[in-house]
Symmetry: C2
Subunit: 190 residues, 2 copies
């Protein structure tokens, strides 16, 4: 998506440690006109897949998942992070490793909302090592749901998670794939 | 909003301890068609107020705030919860008391995104004791921004927070106001 690359170049900031700051339009503040364009593009990419639900992980993916759900006319289900695996009610749960915080956390979703027969599209803002998406795929499999694929706003291609998922046969669509970042420059995958 | 009352009656569940479970359309899963109707109603209520930004608090308010921002064509700014007040960068911060968890937490928003001259609409999913909205008003005041008012999906009228805010001169619009709840019944404010 040419527009996403232009947006990153215009408004993104590279911080020390390989962090891309996109607070002005995706994280701390949402540019809702741009969000609409992102969701239209994702809806177009997965238009003919029979998607019945969007599945995302709280909290940074909620905005884009909500916009995609509205655009595609399907519900959005949130997997929630819990510090312990001790969760009430009937849930599916999985463990996700966070490299950012160097810890494992438990992610749960109510079995009332993710069903056998569902065909889910995974939506998130960032894709780096792919652990969050792998966790969502695990939750979908536990529910007996199928997965059309994943759609993310920005993929950090140099962290390899997206390509690992593709190698496993998961369809991954990223609105921009960053191949490398220096302190002054961002290079996109052609 | 008649539609919201009907939705609560049809899909809401009252749990012990005065908890209203609306996971099927507002919390754990978002009914995006209904979310669109909520956002249209909120946009109508605040249509002539010159709102420049939506301000919400992560994470349960993100979906409805995003939908309202898209409907009104303005950006959405997230105030974020932090366990400590030790936050990098230029931020406004305030302390909010959570009755649910019986603890105070710090809420911050970047000073890059909340500006003097902004006219913000506060959006959240629930209004109970009003502490979260008071925190957001404090953040707006620190930034020198004005506040058009607040819009929430469901107000627990019997907890008094909404009426306290109204008594202070804050415009508060709730799509449904619950006057009382028993284990089997929900009564709305006429």
């Amino acid at each position: 998506m040419q527009l996403m690359e232009e947006k990153i170049i215009a408004e993104g900031q590279v911080l020390p440690g390989g962090i891309l700051k996109v607070g002005s339009f995706l994280n701390q503040m949402i540019d809702t006109a741009f969000l609409k364009e992102m969701s239209e593009e994702i809806a177009r990419l997965y238009a003919d897949c029979g998607v019945s639900k969007i599945l995302t992980i709280e909290s940074s993916g909620i905005s884009i998942a909500t916009a995609v759900g509205m655009q595609m006319g399907v519900p959005v289900v949130f997997a929630k992070k819990h510090k312990t695996s001790n969760v009430d009610g009937a849930v599916y749960s999985t463990s996700v490793h966070s490299f950012t915080h160097n810890t494992d956390y438990t992610v749960v979703v109510s079995s009332d909302y993710l069903l056998a027969g569902d065909n889910v599209l995974l939506v998130d803002d960032f894709l780096a090592n792919g652990k969050a998406l792998l966790g969502l795929i695990d939750l979908a499999e536990q529910a007996g749901a199928s997965v059309s694929g994943a759609a993310v706003a920005i993929e950090k291609g140099f962290q390899g998670g997206g390509d690992k998922l593709r190698a496993q046969g998961v369809r991954v669509e990223s609105l921009a794939i960053i191949d490398s970042m220096t302190d002054t420059d961002v290079t996109f995958r052609p």
